[in-house]
Symmetry: C2
Subunit: 407 residues, 2 copies
């Protein structure tokens, strides 16, 4: 059979993700990879998870291995709801849907909200995983200008006045791929615009806890509730996506969506049809680990300390080793910095050269709306150990210097 003639129209839109393909390179132990958005495996609480698995299987094994409700484990939903509640802004467990990793949040929200060719607001560059989830809808993406402080909210206002948008998507904290963060005043102004223009807003927040400088920012959801003077998420337009991948481990595939109940209700139905529910055992293990609040806070503190050290080391090594004309962002948290090469230089060509020297990263052209960003790439600083950061960045600096001389 010639399958090409049988695939659906939307299948033509599918492209293998550069990030995932590069991840495959990264499994060779001699490659120093700054590619994937991988947390540091040596910081995984493996023993704690082993104990939790033992407890869960010994005490509630049959339950933890059986089919369970699509909405998610009740205790885990309660934990998430309590953790997201602030003062009088209390979130109810019915507003929480447990998803099979936050990528699934994107997939489900796309299915529930997006019609073909809907106009959608995004940062540019934006998260490539959102683009692959939503590309089948052939959306009309509109890029909101950004600077070192994230979205330029003043530039958003005239856009909102000009036309209605179906949805806005953003990673306000430690954006992927740029590493930039929306300031608190901009968050408050953004929230006012969300209210004023009745704009649905997807707040993707997998890295929010990984703060290295200053305080954790209020979420856009919290700002919206404050702007509205409401105590209920049911009044809010923000659909918030959180994840255990970065604060615990990604291999368990557990994240969550917090949103107004009518949205959760539809997402549950979409999830039922999609994969029934997230792994019951994964949910039980995570809950068993995180129910100890002291452990979670200590673990996050440890991640912050180590990742901050790696960020500092990477930025310092880049400053020492990268040639003039190459610039990069200065993230205050998260996992990434984005590098910009001199105009006309191609990041994929740099990658090709760089892998010959066993160093990998992710060219970010596929994160851009429009045919641009070919001179940019993303570096992850959380995954590689300190000595490999120095070694890898030094080699990459060498490659860049040689290519700049030739150019």
């Amino acid at each position: 059979m010639n399958w090409d003639t049988r695939f659906a129209h939307r299948t033509q839109q599918m492209k293998r993700s550069t990030v995932r393909e590069i991840l495959k390179l990264a499994v060779r132990p001699d490659v120093i990879s700054f590619g994937g958005g991988l947390p540091a495996p040596e910081l995984f609480p493996v023993e704690r998870i082993e104990q939790a698995a033992e407890t869960v299987l010994a005490e509630r094994g049959r339950e933890a291995l059986q089919y369970s409700t699509t909405e998610g484990m009740p205790e885990l939903r309660e934990w998430v709801a309590a953790r997201m509640s602030r003062g009088s802004f209390q979130i109810d467990p019915r507003n929480i849907l447990i998803v099979s990793g936050s990528q699934q949040g994107l997939d489900l929200v796309g299915r529930v909200l997006l019609d073909e060719r809907d106009p959608v607001l995004v940062e540019n560059p934006t998260y490539v995983g959102m683009l692959s989830a939503w590309k089948p809808y052939e959306l009309d993406f509109h890029a909101v200008p950004t600077d070192d402080d994230g979205l330029i909210v003043d530039a958003l206002e005239p856009m909102l006045r000009q036309q209605a948008y179906k949805l806005m998507y953003s990673i306000p904290s430690f954006q992927n791929p740029q590493g930039t963060t929306l300031t608190a005043p901009r968050r408050r102004r953004l929230a006012e615009l969300i209210v004023e223009h009745d704009l649905p807003f997807y707040e993707d927040d997998p890295y929010g806890e990984l703060v290295y400088d200053g305080e954790k920012m209020p979420t856009v959801l919290e700002c919206e509730a404050a702007a509205r003077g409401t105590t209920s998420i049911d009044d809010c337009n923000v659909i918030y996506a959180g994840s255990f991948s970065k604060i615990m481990t990604p291999g368990l595939r557990v994240g969550w969506i917090a949103a107004a109940f009518p949205v959760i209700d539809k997402l549950v139905q979409a999830k039922q049809a999609s994969d029934m529910h997230a792994s019951t055992l994964s949910q039980y293990i995570i809950y068993e680990v995180i129910r100890d609040a002291g452990f979670v806070e200590n673990h996050i503190a440890k991640l912050r300390q180590v990742y901050k050290g790696r960020r500092d080391l990477m930025l310092q090594t880049m400053a020492e080793q990268f040639p003039e004309g190459v610039t990069w962002t200065h993230p205050t948290g998260g996992l990434f910095t984005m590098v910009t090469l001199p105009e006309g230089m191609n990041a994929v060509a740099v990658l090709e050269e760089s892998v010959k020297h066993n160093v990998a990263f992710v060219p970010t052209d596929s994160f851009f709306i429009g045919d641009t960003g070919h001179n940019t790439f993303r570096l992850n600083f959380s995954n590689a150990r300190e000595e490999r950061i120095v070694e890898g960045i030094t080699r990459l600096g060498q490659v860049l210097k040689e290519m700049l001389v030739k150019a």
Copy 2:
């Protein structure tokens, strides 16, 4: 915000699944539920899984908790490929995609193959989980007539001559909800038709190992390979879906798709955008358990023995307790029998009465194409223990008798 005005068009097609809603009833311990397709939790190899979790986390913990490839754990793909290979028909691991439960197989194949309003062939009644996964495509379903031996393949032939179909969907072994099984001669003839009419075919086979009478049937995939005289699945039109939910445990959410490589290649891309990959830990645990071939065969033998006993007991109690005019199927394997009430009697009304007596089941009208099947329901015989089967079926018989008298 009035979310109803913001949802996508396809969201209007979404309906909560009866099966899932009934499952919620079933969690009250005083309810005897024949509702969900739940395996018997007392047969879960909990200790074995506990050992496996311990081994995996102690020996490969960091790997088992990290992001992994979309295609699935290489060793698990190899195991599945080897288990599905027969003589010269050898399946390669590259033809296997690990999915997050076989429901995800339906979702992904829908995305990759189905365009809006495509004509698709199905049994009637057919699996409601397929209907919810594929309803957004507003497919043009064509029902192939069935009898106690499954699809009437001779009735399929003229349908195939009349028009082209995008896909055919079937559960050939122990169908959900009917419990019926396609005979070996019909499988061979079906395979010939698949070849002759170049028909893509989705073989959903979650229950295939649960055989209580006679031998395990050859899969339609094997029959197609034989009909073509090929040794490679790359030449085949059958997309085969298998699952660990019924032979191991469903809560780990691991299944697989076996298909020609061009199909797998597109499914991988769809899965990437959907949830990145199935739980790494779930895959590692399952592999650790099943790599011991002796254990798997013993475990399946044990399931067969217990479920056969429960099927016999349920059918016998039904024969004793159900009133005249009520009929049901006689499954030779799997989890279900389907009951047909006298014409005009409504299964949902029976359920409403029955839950007052703490007995639950699934009315199957939502499994039917067209507004029919209101007098049918599905009984699961794998989940409830023997004494509860007798008690529940007796109570249900009483409800049926009383309702028949009133009617």
